[in-house]
Symmetry: C2
Subunit: 367 residues, 2 copies
Amino acid sequence: MSVPRQERGPTIVDVADLAQVSVSTVSRVVRKHADVKDETRARVQAAIDSLGYQPSPIARALVAGRTRLLALLVSDIANPFYPQLARSVEQEAKRGDYTVVICNTDDRAVETRRYLERLLLQGLDGVIHASVSHDEAVVHELLPDRRRVVFTNRPPTDPQASYVVSDNAGGAEDLTRYLLSIGHRRIGFIGGPKFATNAVARVEGFRRVMTEAGEPDPLVAEGDFSAEHGGKAAIAWREIPHPPTALIAVNDSVALGALEALIDRGLKVPDDVALAGFDGVQLAASPLVNLTTVDQHIDRMGRRAVRVLLRQLGRRAGPTASEVLPTQLLVRGSTDSTLRPPLQGLVPGRGGASPAGGRKGRAEKAS
Amino acid sequence: MSVPRQERGPTIVDVADLAQVSVSTVSRVVRKHADVKDETRARVQAAIDSLGYQPSPIARALVAGRTRLLALLVSDIANPFYPQLARSVEQEAKRGDYTVVICNTDDRAVETRRYLERLLLQGLDGVIHASVSHDEAVVHELLPDRRRVVFTNRPPTDPQASYVVSDNAGGAEDLTRYLLSIGHRRIGFIGGPKFATNAVARVEGFRRVMTEAGEPDPLVAEGDFSAEHGGKAAIAWREIPHPPTALIAVNDSVALGALEALIDRGLKVPDDVALAGFDGVQLAASPLVNLTTVDQHIDRMGRRAVRVLLRQLGRRAGPTASEVLPTQLLVRGSTDSTLRPPLQGLVPGRGGASPAGGRKGRAEKAS
DNA sequence: GTGAAAGCGCTAACAG
DNA sequence: CTGTTAGCGCTTTCAC
């Protein structure tokens, strides 16, 4: 393993030599810490500038036990929800002079463990946990200090744990009420895995409202967060006696899978079946998709999560903090045919008619 | 800044004490380096196990000047191309016991500089540069050792630089020839920024084939990689005297933007205008999109890039290596109406006809 | 105000 | 085969 060694720049000793002071004085100047005589400070600063000296984070980390490194744990970077979250997390972290590492867990606790073990040894300072895996125990085991972690996207079980999540149940309630209000009675919920507490909360909200509406035992399909699951569930329900007239997917990705599968079967959305998602990813707003959804304000959630984490990291004994953010229902063409439907009527060259074309109503209306 | 200090686990000294040997012996055992008597090794190993000792990467990095940390520079994690690339890069890096940090440059050289400065100080070992920004000079300035960087996605200018890229020109040529072969003469190319060498190569391939076909001055719209740009260019060309009958977008994201804009105007794809992309992102295969594209085999590209980088990192004097990977044309409904068109004929509830439904031909055929 | 000295946890000669 | 000895580059008492 004769690997090339990183060339190092000037060290604190070089600066000290040049400025004719001790290293401790240089250290003080660099950290603008204790009192240093103005003149000395100036001399040291000049030496720093002329050498282009920059302190080594590695050495600092060795001494301080801190790295200004945060990890963002996501389920699947290929699910558009996570890149959106990642961008906002990264941006906010940058403002606090932290760097973010993105880690894909694939919702497997073993991956959570792998990353955490590795990065903690590497000197990780904190974790933004946006993955929904059944791994809370692992996190608490590896990071017993609750202040170093903030859960987002899904609420944690541990009452001590810090989190920034959406009002998942409330959002699902709003959405369900809306579907009932436009006349749907048979509504199917394409759910996520039962270890995902955000998915569970959404199902609960749905169930609650349905029960209130006199539909105490609505259709619910458990599964994972894959588009395939969405597609399969949507199709399976076409075969049953009284197929649902509306579907709610546990998130936009699953909704997209359902939409694709429905299209594949030649079904019309929203006329044959209405469809809604949850998250509010950008893609859902595309005219190709035009999906009714519950907006989590992903950017805000990411920003808030970082703020909360940095606050906890910043003081010695501060308690953990938590936030529940409101959601917003976005009604689009996939449930409301007076708006543009998910898909314009573009038909193959031979046969089939084309629609009126152009816009049909506003593309979207907030709840 | 009274920040909580990371609790540290047992150190090498603890192990040495327990095993009644010197730290160097422990170090040897840990690194399975020099010869250690079996009995000693066993004793040390027992101590390691009982203490649950794990060496500190930070201290190692301080001594070795290496961290087993790689950075993946991407233009925009929200462009589906990059998450797909990131997954394969991450996976391959994991196999070599490296950890990958994903960095968004937004295609701004200043961001490249920011990340690189920061991470190099942090002890970054190598860089997979998949962002296409005009920042090659910055990279070479900050990382003069060419072995520490591999460019992917876009070919670098520096002849010494290592890279793993697709045959961008060739892919564009294949695509253009295909469009000509199905009868298109007026083809518009929605290009990217001129600082992006991959985009430039694609335009060149396009121009070459068009010239050969007797269309020496085809439509080309320069711009950025945004979906907006795709939409605007596609629309703008509807207004000119002889609008193109086919469009090629510099990548799938731009193509998606164009598709959305065309739909928005009530135009039919591929009948009013055919549309193709470049990249081969998963979304392009969706029945909602069904986009003809040039497959870059993103996963393979990411894997190869990591391999090349790790090889260069691994030996002291090995020369830099480079690879150009072949592409594959994927013909789908956005250019071939005998396949399923991008959008099934789903029309609003009132008015408009619905299509035959079900599949129309194979969803896709390789070139 | 400033400096000297002792590490942080590990690796890497160099001796035995 | 194994131990001793220097550091890696920085922070941090504790003196002066």
